[in-house]
Amino acid sequence: MKTQFDERLKQIDDDIQWNKQRNQKVKNEIIAEIEKHERKPSILKHTLIYSSSLIAFAIFAFLIVVNITPINESQRPSDEEITNPILDEDVMEEENEWIESDNELDIEDGVKMTEDRSTWTEEEMLNDLSAGIILTHRQLTKFVEGEWVPDYHSAEDQQIISDLFSYVSRAGTAAFHLSADNYLYVDLMNLNSVLGEAFQNQDDDGLLLAYQVVHDLDVAYNGFEEDKGPFGVTLYRDATYDVVRTYLGRQ
């Protein structure tokens, strides 16, 4: 049964009116683009026939010339190979540039926590909230995908664990100061507790649960992934909340 509030909500949709002329303009643009798209295959077909005829003719002419011209005995394939070294270098350079630019993207994408928090501005808090979730998600994704197998004792892993606590704590503090979303703050605090419990008990299942929580947060607040994950459909909060409480012994 519809409530009065439902009626008010429905009314919003009726009250948003897109200018008819603008609507028509977009329609015309779509039709033009579709027609352009449909013309492409036939143009391509004609171009293909024309160019293949040209190539066939060129090959035919080349064969005739080769048959007529006497072969120079001193000319060897190895001589031909070095006729244009500059071109090869160019190609190599281009390939290297591609590889370098790929690496740059992998290593440096600008996601980092604020270093100097003496003046922690709203902008920096927003950054730390987002970056904290992203960096935690990245590290725990490595765990889920088998790239990081924590032994919980090595100095390297202790550092990683310490970093994870730092990311989540700072993101949580930022959420608190920004009064962003009470659920977000609670989720981040719970995430910190789950991580603490998992590390203390050296429990991989706990880390997996922490991953699930941070994965959901990444979907909900950063929107980087489909609303799906290794767990099938991500059930943000609804799926993890009770599990988290149980894991922390609160139920």
């Binding site: 429905k10 919003i12 920004l178």
Partner: protein, 175 residues
């Protein structure tokens, strides 16, 4: 076949373009961008037309494309700006330009309150209450389970009412 495809897309545009446009506008609050993404939605529908098997209604299918198109666009933005959209800090609350879209005064308060909600809540309210999709259709568009739609809606409505109270648009005894 191509002409048939073009004809169907044109018909769908006449039927659903307004609704698709307002859906995108409610998600991103940028009228110019909403127009561009509406355009892109119908172009994608044309290109993917052969994959439409008719398992869902054309409207549900188009809304699903519109949602993915919008999300894809937003993902390409920097994370901080995306987060800002969610948290809606220092957002421009000025009127939308009349030449593109008009929102009646009676709905502006709810429109503003909706934009303050978090994305998951907003998605479900828009689809279930504004667009009046069924729970099953909403689940198809959002690519999630029906139970998630129900539970999210149960949380989303009180959150919206709370937002209206906070902004002084609603009195406690009127809920």
């Amino acid at each position: 076949m191509s002409n048939v495809k073009q004809q169907v897309i044109t018909e769908w545009y006449s039927q659903y373009s307004n609704s698709i446009f307002s859906y995108i506008l409610l998600m991103i609050h940028e009228h110019q961008l909403a127009e561009d993404l509406t355009h892109e939605t119908f172009i994608k529908a044309y290109k993917k037309y052969d994959s439409f098997k008719g398992d869902s209604s054309p409207k549900t299918w188009l809304f699903s494309i519109a949602r993915h198109t919008t999300i894809d666009y937003v993902r390409k933005r920097k994370p901080v700006s995306y987060l800002k959209e969610f948290l809606s800090f220092k957002t421009d609350k000025g009127p939308l330009p009349d030449e593109v879209v008009q929102i009646k005064e009676s709905s502006r308060e709810l429109f503003e309150a909706l934009r303050q909600l978090k994305k998951t809540y907003r998605d479900v309210i828009i689809l279930r209450k504004l667009k009046e999709f069924s729970t099953k259709e909403t689940a198809e568009i959002l690519n999630c389970s029906e139970s998630k739609v129900k539970s999210t809606l149960n949380r989303a409505i009180p959150a919206l009412e709370k937002q209206l109270l906070k902004e002084g648009y609603l009195h406690e005894n009127s809920i």
